[in-house]
Symmetry: C5
Subunit: 356 residues, 5 copies
C-alpha cells in the first residue's frame, strides 16, 4: 500500500500545483454526507445524498456538524469548500490522504489533519485513515476516508435528550473528536503489545528466520507510528498555546489532556521499541546458542567413539604375538574395555557440563 | 500490569471525556482520610471515615493537610474536589493513575502529579504508585493509591512539640513531601544496582539464556524509569523558575535542591544503562567464547586419536611382508609408538595454547 | 563522480577567491538559452544562441523567464549576471555545482540553489543536477546543468491560450518550479524502494557478499540524500517565514505545501533507512544461520557413520574366540545391526530436530 | 564506593531536609583549617586548630583565604557558615560530597562546587574529591575532603615576596583555583590514555575475557567523567556570561580560558570513548578470529589423516585376490602412497591459505 | 604526538596561569618574520631577522601584514604583542598550539585561531598546524608553527603589479586567508577518501586484522576532524552575524561562502564515517564468512571419506562366510563401490551448494 501511494504521488508530477486529484486508495464507493444541527434546545440529524439536499435544509441557531465519508470526489469537496469558504489548498490536502498531522490557522476557520490507525495482530499490518477537521465559529466539518466508527459515541451522546453535549460550542465538539482519535491509539499500542508477546513466545519455543523478519517489521511499524505521531504532538502544542482563538480558555484545559495522552502514547511506543530491540538480541543469541550447543553435543558423541574405534583397530593388527587374542573371553574383555572408556569419558564430559 | 493498565485505558473509549472512572489497579479496599491541622501554636490529627466527619471539624488558623489513601472512589474524590474548589480535570487526573509527572497551575491552587517506585530485587519488578498533590494557600491535599509510608517522617516531625515544621507554610510542607519522594528514588537505584551486581556474578559463574533476558529486562526498567523521571525534571524546573507564586522565594531555594537530586538520580540511571549495556556485551562474548573453547578442546582430542588409529590400521593390513609383525614385542612397540605420537602432539598443542 | 568533484575542488586551491571557474562535470556541449516573456495578454517564446540575441529582443510588460542549460561557460554567466545586476558570488555559486541547497536574499533579487536527483535502479547510482533560481520582481532566471525536463510541464501550461498561469507573478512561477523539483524527489524515493525490494528478495533466495555491499551502498545513498535535503527544509522555512518580500502572502501559503512535501520525503527516507538496517540484520543472520545449519547437518551425517565403523572394527579384530564369526549369516546380521543403529540414531536426531 | 555512597544517601531518608549530616566517606581524621590573609603590602599564614583561634586573629585590609580540609564535621562547618553569613543549604551541600558541579549566586557571595579526580592506572579506578568554593567580595573559603595538593602552587606564589598574586582580588584568586582544578583533569585524561594503550597491547598479545571487562570499565569511567564534567561547562558558561558581578571584566577573560580547557577535556574524553569502542570491536574480532583459525587448522589436520586411514582399511580387507599384497615391498609402497596423498593435500591446503 | 601534547599540558600544572610557556612540538628551529606593506599604490616585502629590523622600517599608509613562522619563542611573541597592543592571553593562546578554533573580539582587534591539517595516505596519520590570525584595522598578524605554503598564493597575488588584491582592506585579506585554509581541508578529505578506497580493496582481496585496525583508525581520524571543525563552523557563524565591525558588509558576503565550504567539508566527513562503518561491517562479514565456508568445505571432505572407510572396515571383518571375498575381482568391485558412493555424495553436496 505504501508503494501504491507513492506511485500515485509520482503520477501527479506534471500536473499544475493545486490540481484537485485524489491521491491514495479509494476506500468508499460513493461519498456519504451526514449532517447534525444542534443547539441547547434543538437537535436534527440528516443523511444527505448530495449538496442540493444540504442547501434545501434551513440553518438553525446552533452548531452544524457535517461529516463526509469518502474523499475521492474532487468536485464534491470543491463544492463543499465553496459553500463554507475554504481555501483550495485545504481541499487539496483533504483529497491527498498522505498528509502529515498539522494545524493550519485561516482567519475564519481552523484546519486540522490527523490520522487513525488500525493494527492487525495476525498479519502485523497497520492501516491508516486520514481524518480532516475544519472548525469554524459555528460549524465543524469532518472528512473521513471511510466509516470507522470513531465518532459514533459522540453522535450517541448528542442524540441523548437534554445531553450536556448540546450546550457546548464547536470548539468542545472538536476537542471531543480529537480525544476520541487519540484514545483510539491505545488500541493500536495494545495490538502491538500483543504481537510482541506472541513473538516473544515464538522466540523461546520455536525461533525461525521468519520470526526475525516479523520482529523487524513490528519494530518498523512502531518507529513509523512514533514518527507520524510526533508532529501531532507539535500540532497539539500549537493549539494549546492558543495562538488561535477558536478554542475558548475552558476548552484549552481539556486540550492539554489530549496532549498528555499523546505524549503517553509516544512513550509507550519508545518502550515497545526498547522491548523489540531486546527481543532481536535474544533471538540472535538463542538461535546461535542452540546451534552451538547442538554442534558441541555432536562433537562430544563423535569423541566418545574415538577410543573404542582405536581399540578395535589395535586388536585387528596382524602381529604374531599379541596379548588376549587367544584367551577365551578376550573378545568380551575388549568390549568391556571399550565400554569402560566410553563411560568414563561420558562422566568426565557430564561433569564439565558438555552434555547438558 | 502494564497490559492491564492499557486494557483499562482502551476500555474507556466511547465514554464522554472527563468521565470519572478509575483507571488502574485498585490497591486499597476502602479509601482512608487522615487530617492534620497545624499552626505554630496548635496541632490536631484525625482519622476520618467520611466527608461528613471532615465537615464537622472546625477550621483552625494554620495549614490543613488532608491525606487520602485509595483513589478508586470517583464519588468521594468528586465531593472532596467540590469542597476545595478543584477543577473536574484535576479529579480525573487523580483517578487515572498512569499520568505523567506534571504541574498544573490553577489560579487558586497548584496541582502536582509525581510517582514513587518500588523495585523488587528478586523478581526484577518495578511497581509504581501515583501521588497527587494539591497545594493551596493554606492547605495541602495528598492522594495516594495505598499507604506507602513515604510521608511518615513528615508526620512524625509535625507531631513533635515545638517542631520548627509547625511554623512553616503550605509551600514548605509541599517541598518536604517532594523531597521525601525524590529521596525514595535512591532506594530504587540501589535495588537496580544490586540486581545488576547479582547478574554480573551470574554471568561470570553460570551464564544462561535466562540471564540475558534478565539483563534486558533490567535495562528496560532503567530506561523506562529514566523516561518517566525526565518530565519530573521539567516539572521542577517549571516550579523553580517561579511562574507560580505558591512557593515563597526562601522555599524556592530548597526546591532547587530537590531538582539537583532528581538530576543526580537521572545521571545514576544513565550510568546503570551503560553498565548493563556492557554486561550484555560481556555475556554474549562469554557464552560464545565458552562454546568455542569447548569445541576447540573436543576437536583437539579427536585429532589426538587420529595418528594412533592410522597406525593400528597400517598394522592391520594384510601384506605378506611387513616389518615388526613377527617380532615378539612388535605389538608393544607399536602401542608405544602410538602413545609417543599422541604425547608429542599433546605437547605441541599445549605449547600453542590449544589445550588451556 | 564524487571523487572527480573533489579533485576539481582541490584543483582550485591557489586561485583567488571568486575566480569564475566551473567546478563539476560538464554535462552539456554548449550552453542553450531559452526565453519566455508572458503577461496576462501576451506570450512569446524564443530559443537564443547568444546574449546579443537577447539584447535585440524588446522587453514586454510582464514576467521574463530566462532558462540556461549548461553552466560551465563562466564568461557567458558573467555577462548574464551583469545584465540582471547579479553579485559575482552568485555567478560563482552557479558555476560550482556542488553547492548545498540555500537561499540568499539580495535586495533586488532572491538566489535559490536546489538539486534534482536521478536514481538508477540497476546500478544503485544517484546522479545530481544543481538548479539555480534567481527571482526578481519581474523576472526569473533558471540555470540547469543539462536539459532534464523538470520544467517542461510549466512551459506547457504557459503556452496554453488563456492559461491562468499567465496571470501570476514571478513568485508563483518560482513556486511552481520548486513544487516540480520537490515532486521529482518522490520518483527517487520510489526507485530506492524498488531497489530495497530487489535486495530483500535476493537476501531470501540467494544471499551473497555482493548483496551486503549493495545494501550498505543503498543505505548510504539514502542517508546522503537525507543529509542533502535537510538544508532544503531549512531553506523553505526561511522562505516561508517571509523574511523576504518576494513572495506575496497568497503564494506563501502554497510554499508551505512544498515544505510539507519535503518533510514527507525526509520521513520516507528515514523509513527506508530503518528498512535497510533491518535488511542488513536479516542478511547477516540468514547467512550465518545457513552455514551453521549445514555444518550441523554434516556433523550429524559424520556421527551416523561412527557406530557402524566401530562395529566393523570390532568384527575385524583377530581374537581366536569371537561370536557370530562362524555363523553362516553372521555377516548379514552384522550389517543389519549397523543399519539398525544408524536408523535408530537417525530417528533420535530427527526427533531432536537436528536433521531439518 | 559508589554503592557506599548510595547507602548513605538512602540512609538519610526520614531525616528532615536540611539536616546537617555528612554523606560520603570520611577521608580525614580531623578537620584542618589554614588561613592566608594577603594584600599588596602584607602576607600572613596560619594553621588553626579551631574557630576560636580564627576569632582571635585580627582582620587585615586585603583578601582572606580560609581553606578547610575535612568536611564531615557538621558543627564546625555550621559555625564557619554563621561567621561568614552562609545559607544553611550551602553548608548542607558542602557536607554532602556527591553534589554535581554547580554555581549558586547568593547576593553576598558565590557558591561553586567542583570536583577533582584521581585515576589509578593499574586498578582502573577513579576517585573523586569534592571541592567547594565560597567567593565573597574580600574572602574566599575552600572546603576539601582531604589534602590533595591542588592549591599548593597558588599558596607558593602568594608566599613569594612582592608576588603579583598579592595584588589581585578574591575573584582572580578564585579563577586561579578553578584553573588549577581544570588543569588537573589533564592528568586523569593522560592516565586513561595510558590505560587504553596498556589494554590495546594486551589485546594484540594476549586477549582474555578480563581484558573485555577492563575495556568496558574504562569506557564507563570515561563516559561518567564526561557526564560529570558536562555541568561544569554549563557552570563556567553561567559565570562567564557575567550574571554575577563577583568577577571583574578583566578576570572574566581569564575565565573564558578555563572554559576552553574544560571543553578541550570533554573533547578528549569523546576521543577516548571512540578509541575504546574501536578496541572492543578489535577485541571481539581478534578472539573470534583466533578460535576460528585454530578450529580450521585442527580440521585440516584431521582431513589429512582421512585418506591414509582409508588406504590402510583397504589393504586390511580380506579379499583373496588383492594386488600388491604378495609383493616384497608392497607395504612400503603403500606407506609411500599414504605419505604422497598427505603431502599433496598439504600442498593444496597451503596454496589455498588454509594452513597459515 | 597527542600523548606528547598532553604530557606537556600536564607539565604546566603548578605554573601561574598566563605563564608564557610553549605547549606543543617545536617545528621550526628559529622564528622567521616576513613583512608585507601594501596599499593600492605601493608594495614592499621584507624578511626580518628580529624585531629591531621591524622597528627600523617606516610605516606606510596601507595594510601591514606580518607573518611569523615558529611560535615557541615566548619572549619574541610577547614583544610583538606589546608593539601591536595584544592582551597577554592572546600571546598565551598563540604559544599553546592545541587551542580549539575560536574567535575573540577585543576592541581594537579580532583574534582568530584555526588549524590546517595534513593527512598521510600511507601511514593514516593526520598532522595539525595551528594558525593564529590577529586582524586589526590596518594590519594582519599571522602566526604559523612552520612554513606550510598555505598563504603562498595570496603573497603571489599581492606581488602582481596593479593587483586588485592591493586595493582591499585588512578584512578582505583575512577572508582570503580563511578561504585558503578551508580550501586546504578538501585535500585532507581527498586523502581520507583514497585511504578508504585502499582499505576497501584490501578487504575484498586480502582482509587481515591489521585492516580492521586501520579502518578503526581512519574512522577515528574522520570523527576527530569533524569534532575539531565543528567549532570552526560556530566561529564563522559568529563572524558572519557581524557582532564585530572588523568585516565590512561586502566582505561578510564572502565570509558566508567560507562558511558554506566548511559545512560542505563537515558533510563529506559524515559521509566518510558512514562509508567506514559500512566497511567495518563488510570486513567482519567477509572474514567470518570465509572461515565458515572453509570449515564447511573441510567437513564435506571429511564426510566424503566416511562411507569408503566403513566399507573397507566391513570387508576387513573376519566372518567365515562373506560375499565377494573369493571372487577374483571382488577387490576392484569394492573399490568401485567406494568410488561410486563418494561420487554420488559429491553430486548431492554439489547440488545443495555445499561445495562451491
Amino acid at each position: 500500500m505504501p508503494r501504491l501511494k507513492k506511485k500515485l504521488r509520482s503520477s501527479k508530477i506534471g500536473l499544475p500545483p493545486g490540481a484537485l486529484v485524489h491521491l491514495g486508495e479509494i476506500k468508499t464507493p460513493a461519498p456519504l454526507l451526514s449532517l447534525i444541527d444542534f443547539s441547547p434546545d434543538s437537535f436534527a440529524e440528516h443523511e444527505l445524498l448530495d449538496l442540493a439536499a444540504l442547501d434545501a435544509l434551513p440553518r438553525g441557531p446552533g452548531v452544524r456538524w457535517l461529516n463526509i465519508h469518502g474523499v475521492h470526489d474532487g468536485a464534491l469537496l470543491s463544492a463543499i469548500g465553496e459553500r463554507f469558504g475554504l481555501h483550495p489548498l485545504v481541499i487539496e490536502d483533504i483529497l491527498n490522504t498522505d498528509q502529515r498531522p498539522k494545524v493550519d490557522d485561516f482567519d475564519d476557520y481552523l484546519f486540522i489533519v490527523v490520522h487513525i490507525y488500525d493494527a492487525d495482530r495476525e498479519r502485523l499490518d497497520v492501516t491508516t485513515d486520514q481524518i480532516s477537521l475544519v472548525i469554524g465559529r459555528d460549524f465543524v466539518l469532518t472528512f473521513q476516508e471511510r466509516p470507522t466508527g470513531t465518532f459514533a459515541p459522540i453522535r450517541q451522546r448528542l442524540r441523548a435528550e437534554k445531553s450536556p453535549m448540546r450546550r457546548v460550542g464547536s470548539d468542545y465538539l472538536a476537542y471531543s473528536m480529537l480525544d476520541s482519535i487519540v484514545d483510539s491509539y491505545f488500541t493500536v499500542i495494545e495490538r502491538f503489545s500483543e504481537s510482541a508477546e506472541d513473538l516473544e513466545e515464538e522466540i523461546l519455543n520455536n525461533p525461525q528466520t521468519k520470526t526475525l523478519q516479523q520482529i523487524h517489521e513490528l519494530k518498523r511499524h512502531v518507529m513509523r507510528l512514533r514518527r507520524t505521531l510526533w508532529p501531532l504532538r507539535e500540532t497539539l502544542t500549537t493549539l494549546y498555546h492558543g495562538q488561535s482563538d477558536f478554542f475558548r480558555p475552558e476548552t484549552l484545559l481539556y486540550l492539554r489532556d489530549v496532549y498528555d495522552h499523546t505524549v503517553h502514547v509516544l512513550e509507550s511506543l519508545e518502550d515497545q521499541r526498547d522491548l523489540l530491540t531486546g527481543l532481536l538480541d535474544i533471538y540472535l543469541t538463542t538461535v546461535s546458542n542452540r546451534v552451538n550447543v547442538e554442534v558441541r553435543l555432536l562433537t562430544v558423541v563423535a569423541t566418545l567413539f574415538m577410543p573404542a574405534t582405536l581399540i578395535s583397530g589395535i586388536f585387528g593388527m596382524n602381529f604374531h604375538t599379541m596379548p588376549w587374542l587367544d584367551q577365551p573371553n578376550g573378545f568380551w574383555q575388549t568390549l568391556a574395555l571399550m565400554a569402560g572408556v566410553a563411560i568414563s569419558m561420558t562422566l568426565v564430559f557430564w561433569n564439565r557440563r558438555l552434555l547438558r
